[in-house]
């Protein structure tokens, strides 16, 4: 299996070097290093409290690392808050679906970044609907229409919308934090299909998942964390569940 797809430059999309994070005296993440290349899906696994969410929050700019550097396309960056990370082309799909329930799909797609037109900067609903429709068609997110209200959609459709939104705005990297935790079997399969199509758009993806089956279905590499310590990174094709489980639990 092909594990990397190189973009224009050889520098990885995201490089974490010796990232360390402590909250007061409590070490959450210790000495973490990882590189993600364009078109690559890396899974981050580990037990509850292993530090996965803390890592995602550092990459998305919610927390700043205590030490270590984050590089995007080879350039060291520091994010003061989530909007700066977003401006750098990083999008996060949250577990608890950051969607406005009573609004149509297209307004969620453009939430906070609405398209405007004319001298009065009025909302360009037609353009937003058109772009939304094109995107959901391309990603094969099956929703009744771009005008559908989020509340009327199923859990899988909603997660499809959230991923489509991230896809629309992400230029470099999408972080998926337990994207299928709340979904049924068929809906999970659908979301996984969407994630696979993202690979072809040359976007780097970091996915957190508790489902090892899912991790093996989707990822190119698997990175294991245990109590804040990076246990190792394996190529998915060259490992198996037993090895990963023993890395997660530290037993065997």
């Amino acid at each position: 299996m092909k594990t990397t797809v190189h973009g224009g430059s050889d520098a990885p999309v995201l490089a974490l070097d010796n990232i360390h994070k402590a909250f007061g005296g409590v070490v959450a993440v210790e000495d973490f290093s990882l590189e993600l290349r364009a078109g690559e899906i890396v899974a981050l696994v580990g037990d509850n409290g292993a530090g996965k969410s803390t890592l995602v929050k550092m990459i998305s700019g919610v927390h700043a690392p205590s030490s270590g550097t984050i590089r995007l396309d080879g350039e060291a960056v520091s994010f003061s808050d989530a909007s700066v990370a977003r401006a750098h082309g990083i999008e996060v799909v949250y577990q608890d679906l950051a969607l406005a329930d009573q609004q149509p799909v297209y307004m969620n797609m453009f939430l906070g970044r609405e398209t405007v037109r004319g001298p009065l900067n009025l909302l360009d609903r037609k353009a937003m609907m058109r772009e939304t429709q094109a995107l959901v068609d391309e990603l094969d997110v099956r929703i009744p229409s771009a005008k559908a209200i989020i509340r009327d959609l199923s859990g899988g459709q909603r997660q499809g919308v959230a991923i489509a939104r991230a896809t629309h705005w992400a230029r470099k990297l999408i972080l998926l934090d337990e994207p299928t935790a709340a979904l049924g079997v068929a809906e999970t399969a659908k979301v996984e299909d969407i994630v696979r199509t993202l690979r072809e758009r040359n976007i780097a993806i970091l996915i957190i998942s508790h489902s090892l089956d899912q991790v093996f279905r989707l990822s190119d590499r698997i990175c294991v964390l245990r109590r804040g310590i990076q246990i190792g990174v394996r190529e998915t094709a060259k490992t198996d569940k037993n090895e990963i489980v023993s890395m997660i639990t530290g037993v065997g």
């Binding site: 989530a82 329930d101 939430l111 906070g112 009065l120 909302l123």
Partner: protein, 317 residues
């Protein structure tokens, strides 16, 4: 998908409740009060003139509710603004009076908004407190006396005047509704207000400055109340601490009946206008029917209860 379609149809029907209700009550009065002058141009235009201040307060209220907040204090703001304008105009020209009235409204709105947005106090409690606080201020400002407004330019501009034969109060109503509707429905600001009320967390992670939105909607409500105060002062040619006192229930009812959600994320400025006209028509019709004041209050309360119950029924449940 059938369940989905039927849910959407119920939803749509709900959006039109206010128009159907308006039509039904209009027809009822038109038939039962045909001999009492309900249908005369004079009476109908009176209804619109009398509801102008409430309509403008309702527009501000749509913004506040849509953002997931509430403003109970606007009635007191009306009185303080009207009195401030009237007092200033005793010695200074109209422009100073207008600036005072609107400025006071915006300032109180800012005060409410600051407490709600940056100290994260619940708007229900903040504005309940400022309702009482500024009702007291209005009473003490002039020792319960009413202040006459004898500035002709002002009373024409805000009250009895007209342009091309259209009364100024109607022009103010149209202007406020058009501006309010466009800002609410067609601007990024309006979209951010609605998103904040729908899911503040989602709005925040999408880069919307949620505290700024909360401050803004309470200032809009304060500004609208200030304008309503000026309209009252212009029409009555006097300002008094009682102005706006009895508008709270009418305005809330108008806005809710007009399709604005009590807990944010959904609203309509046009709906609020129709809701406000409906309340005005109800008032007018009950008076023409010869009901005593206490009977009017009972009937109005019951009708509001029914209307609100219909428009709040969640089709999803």
């Amino acid at each position: 998908m059938d369940w989905l379609r039927s849910a959407r149809q119920t939803f749509d029907l709900q959006q039109y409740v206010v128009y159907l209700g308006f039509l039904a009550i209009f027809l009822f009065f038109a038939i039962t009060l045909s001999d009492d002058g309900f249908l005369t141009t004079r009476n109908l235009s009176n209804i619109v003139l009398q509801t102008a201040p409430a309509t403008i307060m309702a527009i501000g209220f749509v913004f506040v509710l849509s953002a997931g907040e509430i403003d109970l204090s606007f009635g007191s703001i009306v009185a303080v603004s009207a009195l401030s304008g009237a007092v200033v105009m005793q010695d200074y020209p109209m422009v100073a009076g207008i600036a005072a009235g609107l400025g006071v409204g915006l300032a109180i709105g800012w005060f409410n908004g600051f407490l709600v947005a940056y100290l994260r106090l619940p708007s229900f409690l903040v504005t309940l407190a400022t309702l009482g606080l500024f009702a007291g201020v209005a009473r003490s400002m002039t020792d319960l006396r009413s202040i006459p407004v004898i500035n002709d330019a002002f009373t024409g501009f805000f009250g009895s005047g007209s342009l091309f034969g259209i009364p100024s109060l109607i022009l103010w109503t149209i202007g406020a509704v058009v501006v309010g509707h466009v800002v609410y429905r067609e601007t990024r600001f309006g979209a951010h207000v609605i998103a904040t009320g729908d899911n503040a967390g989602a709005a925040q992670v999408s880069g919307i400055k949620v505290p700024r939105i909360r401050l803004a909607v309470l200032m809009i409500s304060g500004g609208c109340a200030g304008l309503a105060g000026l309209l009252y002062a212009g029409r009555l040619q006097a300002a008094r601490y009682t102005l706006g006192e009895s508008d709270l229930m009418t305005v809330i009812a108008a806005v809710i009946v007009g399709g604005t959600a009590l807990n944010g994320g959904k609203g309509s400025v046009i709906g609020a206008l129709v809701g406000s006209l409906l309340m005005g028509m109800l008032n007018n019709g009950l008076i023409l029917m010869g009901l005593s004041v206490s009977d009017q209050m009972i009937v109005r309360g019951l009708i509001i209860l029914i209307a609100v119950a219909i428009s709040l029924r969640d089709p999803a449940r």
